[in-house]
Amino acid sequence: MSEKKLMKGNEVVGEAAIRAGCRYFFGYPITPQNDIPAYMSRRLPEVDGVFLQAESEVAASNMVYGAAGAGARVLTSSSSPGISLKAEGISYIAGAELPAVIVNIMRSGPGLGGIQPSQADYFQATKGMAHGDFRLLVLAPSTVQELADLTYLAFDLADKYRNPVMVLGDGMLGQMMEPVEFKEMRDLDELPKKEWATDGAKGREKNVINSLGLVAENLEKHNLKLKAKYDQMREEEVRYDDYKMDDAELAIVAYGTTARIATSAIDRARKEGYKVGLIRPITLFPYPENRIAEAADQVDEFLAVEMSTGQMVEDVKLAVNGKKPVDFYGRTGGVVPSTDEIYDKIVAMRGDK
């Protein structure tokens, strides 16, 4: 552990990745994540790494595909429309079972959208990133410190599962400055060995990185193998945080920066006597569905709060499974919900109870 530094979220992504042993970055400029490639272009040469600004997000994700196949710890970052373009490469990376880390600093959409913070890419990250039967492991930090820790962790998880891992933040988290403490610099010699990588067939059979499966039965077998990994993630990787849930009668479910705003609203509501708590998913896939199902036996009702018109709320409903009502509050298009708005929503739900 080192001393605390005051740093911007986006730059923290870069430093955490380098400390995790990442020496390759391929990206393309897009707001509001631009400080990540800028930081990497400055910092990677200092550690004998490679920064390359690609001609497009499509090319960047395919460079990541190549570098990951060649055995490297590799990072790319983008913001929402850029992630749509990277989806092609990400599907191939998942299909070929390669480890890679993708950071999405979300902005508002659809289409070109705006450059203000948003959580409208929840579906994209957790359900339908691209074509085919695959999942990303999705981590959702809510503070700059957590952004550092989860980016660092993402590389280990990517290697553990040979699967792409996404760190899903929003423009607010990327732009805010907070004190941060980094984990130690990883010794590159102690990173996991990758016997499957394309580094030249010296004294061994050739290695092939591939996602083509022309025989349906074989591809089904492959997809079931992928599913087994996703099931293992559901068993081993679920992460969440509880806040004042012990006696809660209303459980707010929110992730990322929205969860922080919800926390302030909860503190204010608690002062007024409302028994409100927060379940904050840290992994969005795998989703903490068991925790929410368990809370359904305790609380009277749920409130999902998001910077979207309602995406994660569907997973809350699936987990609650009809046991209790699930309400939703969201702002979209780059508008950030305020503490007052969430407080008013709590009062509207609990005022007469």
Binding site: Y24, V58, N62, M63, G66, G69, T198, A201, N210
Partner: protein
């Protein structure tokens, strides 16, 4: 005793899925012979395209990475940046390189990415069933130009090799053909040079190889060779368009 004939070590001894009369097999063999002769089989990573050669990762006996359509130069860039001391090549058809992958090939070439690209031009999409390619000749009938390619609506046959040669990045850009033994020998020489220049760190090298597709052209293999010579050569002249060694 000196071995004067036989199967190249860098090519797996198996039958391929290529159609009778297709020249992919010849070009595969030339690349494999070059890899053998340069003694780099264990130091080489090939990047396969999407198209007829999608399965070439099964045929080359070197480490292989199967790319998405048109992105082979980007995938190769990723591999090469991780292993700058290894030889990295892409094998791409005309739909792959000259249509969907134009951005990737232009920028890999412009960066002077130290890789070798073998570009197979048979003026048609083969794998998907004979659709019009950007390289399809004027008046050429395909499943998506049943009345013949109309320049007014579909544009002109694209000359990728000439286009890439005007960039500052590439070290070597040439067009060859494999329609007769003499041209096959010249093609091998060009391919060998394109690999050697990578080994010497000279930068991006591309060899376009004019190739046949009798199945989708709807003619016999021998007529295919004639069609290539008579119809394709006037549109796609064989030449070296850039060679930094000539300048030196």
């Amino acid at each position: 005793m000196e071995k004067i004939a036989g199967y190249p070590e860098s090519l797996d001894n198996q039958s391929t899925h290529y159609c009778p009369g297709c020249t992919h097999g010849i070009i595969h063999r030339l690349i494999a012979e070059v890899i053998d002769e340069l003694e780099i089989r264990e130091e080489t990573i090939g990047v396969a395209p999407v198209g007829c050669a999608v399965l070439c990762y099964e045929y080359f006996d070197v480490d292989m990475h199967e790319a998405s359509h048109g992105r082979a130069p980007a995938v190769a860039t990723g591999v090469k940046r991780v292993h700058p001391d290894k030889t990295v090549f892409t094998y791409q058809g005309d739909g792959d390189l000259a249509s969907i992958g134009t951005a990737e090939i232009v920028h890999a070439a412009n960066r002077g990415e130290n890789i070798t690209t073998i570009f197979i031009n048979n003026a048609i999409y083969g794998m998907t069933g004979g659709q019009m390619a950007p390289t399809t000749l004027e008046g050429q009938k395909t499943t998506t130009s049943p009345y013949g390619r109309n320049i007014k609506d579909s544009g002109n046959p694209i000359k990728m090799t000439e286009m890439l040669a005007v960039l500052d990045g590439p070290a070597y850009i040439a067009r060859v053909s494999v329609h007769n033994p003499k041209e096959i020998r010249k093609a091998k020489k060009a391919i060998k040079k394109a690999f050697r220049m990578q080994l010497e760190g000279k930068g991006f090298a591309l060899v376009e190889v004019l190739s046949t597709c009798p199945t989708n052209w709807g003619i016999s293999p021998t007529d295919g060779l004639k069609w290539l010579e008579e119809m394709m050569l006037p549109q796609y002249p064989l030449d070296v368009f850039k060679d930094i060694e000539e300048v030196e």
